[in-house]
Amino acid sequence: MSSLRERVRGLWVFAVAASAAPLSYLVSFPCGGACLSCPMTGACLLVTPLAVLLVLAVKFSRRIKSFFLRHSDK
């Protein structure tokens, strides 16, 4: 049963990645010109490190929560 669950999860990840790749090309095609050709006007360069920081924050969420719990007044 767990094997079936893992297989389904794997297929789900495959499908998400397969659909994300063309979408990412479509979203980022103005990048081939210049920042001004895109409504984000270069904000992606800020978004990328922020996304990495967000992922790191999620990764350490338990530690972050415990840190705040330890340092809260209660």
Binding site: E6, R9, G10, L11, V13, F14, A15, V16, A17, A18, S19, A20, A21, P22, Y25, L26, S28, F29, P30, C31, G32, G33, A34, C35, C38, G42, C44, L45, T48, P49, V52, V55, L56, K59
Partner: protein, 294 residues
């Protein structure tokens, strides 16, 4: 393991990776120059003389002749994949300058692995890798069969290519700054994804190779086939394993499963696991008879 020990144990691979830069990246591109000399081809020899990505797109764009008409490109792609069947993805692990630079950057910047990203399940990593490959092929099919009318989509291959950016950077450093004219925001995104996210912020520094290199993905499939047929592959001996997890922590391709066996579609026979394992649990094996289930 200290820096000196790491350098000592991996010296042949590091030397090969350094050699790879001079073999494939212009203005040196010694391998391409050699082939061009034999073929009496006067074209400039660069990393662009063969392409890691476009041929896959061309197949579906009805431009297969573009690959076949270029002996260098056809020969390169064919050789890398055929060698992967017999000896594993040696190009990825031992020669590729793109992977070497992000891996080197990862080692040079001393961020602890706990602050770096990785997926612990090699099965999921593999599915992501082949999902991205399928998406890349899908784009080729959509544009190749004119299902999508977009000149932008049909040029994604060069625009979002790390080896293309590496060649531009190398050309600029070695005396041709005009190549920087080719740079654009897409190039910066590629550099960030290849060197910063895939290099510095992913365990092992091979994030680009894992998720965005179609040649690496195809080499992984070829290696899986080759390993099933009994050709060269990394094997784990469970009887020697003490479950110290040194191998799975240090594997650049995140290829070590929870039972310490090797996910073939990710492994590039770099021998990092064998070098790191204090108990000698990993070794390269050849032939079908000695295969023992771990």
């Amino acid at each position: 393991m200290t820096v000196r020990e790491t350098l000592s144990k991996n010296k042949w691979r590091y030397l090969a990776l350094a050699l790879g830069f001079f073999l494939f990246v212009g203005p040196f591109a010694l391998a391409v120059r050699g082939v061009y000399f034999i073929l009496d081809n006067q074209a400039a020899a660069t990393l662009h003389s063969f392409c890691f990505r476009m041929p896959i797109s061309w197949i579906f764009e009805g431009r297969f002749y573009s690959i076949v008409s270029s002996l260098v490109m056809a020969g390169f792609g064919f050789s890398v994949i055929v060698i992967s069947i017999f000896l594993g993805p040696l190009f990825c692990g031992w020669l590729c300058p793109v992977g070497a630079i992000s891996e080197g950057l990862s080692r040079a910047i001393p961020i602890p692995n706990k602050y770096r990203l990785r997926i612990k399940d090699p099965g999921l990593t593999s599915m992501l890798r082949y999902g991205f490959l399928a998406g890349f092929v899908l784009v080729g099919m959509l544009t190749g069969y004119s299902l999508v009318e977009s000149s932008e989509l049909s040029t994604v291959c060069c625009r979002y290519c790390a080896s293309s950016q590496l060649q531009n950077l190398a050309s600029a450093v070695f005396g041709d700054p005009l190549t920087l004219q080719y740079w654009h925001t897409g190039a910066i995104i590629v550099l960030v994804a290849w060197l910063v996210i895939g290099g510095v912020f992913m365990v092992g520094g091979r994030g680009w190779c894992l998720f965005f290199c179609p040649l690496g993905a195809l080499s992984g499939l070829a290696h899986k086939l080759g390993a099933k047929l009994g050709f060269l592959r990394m094997e784990h001996d469970a009887s020697k394993c003490k479950n110290c997890k040194e191998c799975s922590d240090k594997c650049m391709m995140w290829a070590i499963k929870s039972d310490k066996t090797v996910e073939r579609t990710l492994c590039m026979n770099c021998k990092e696991c064998a070098n790191r394992c204090p108990y000698g649990s990993y070794s390269l094996k050849w032939g079908r008879k000695n295969v023992k289930p771990s």
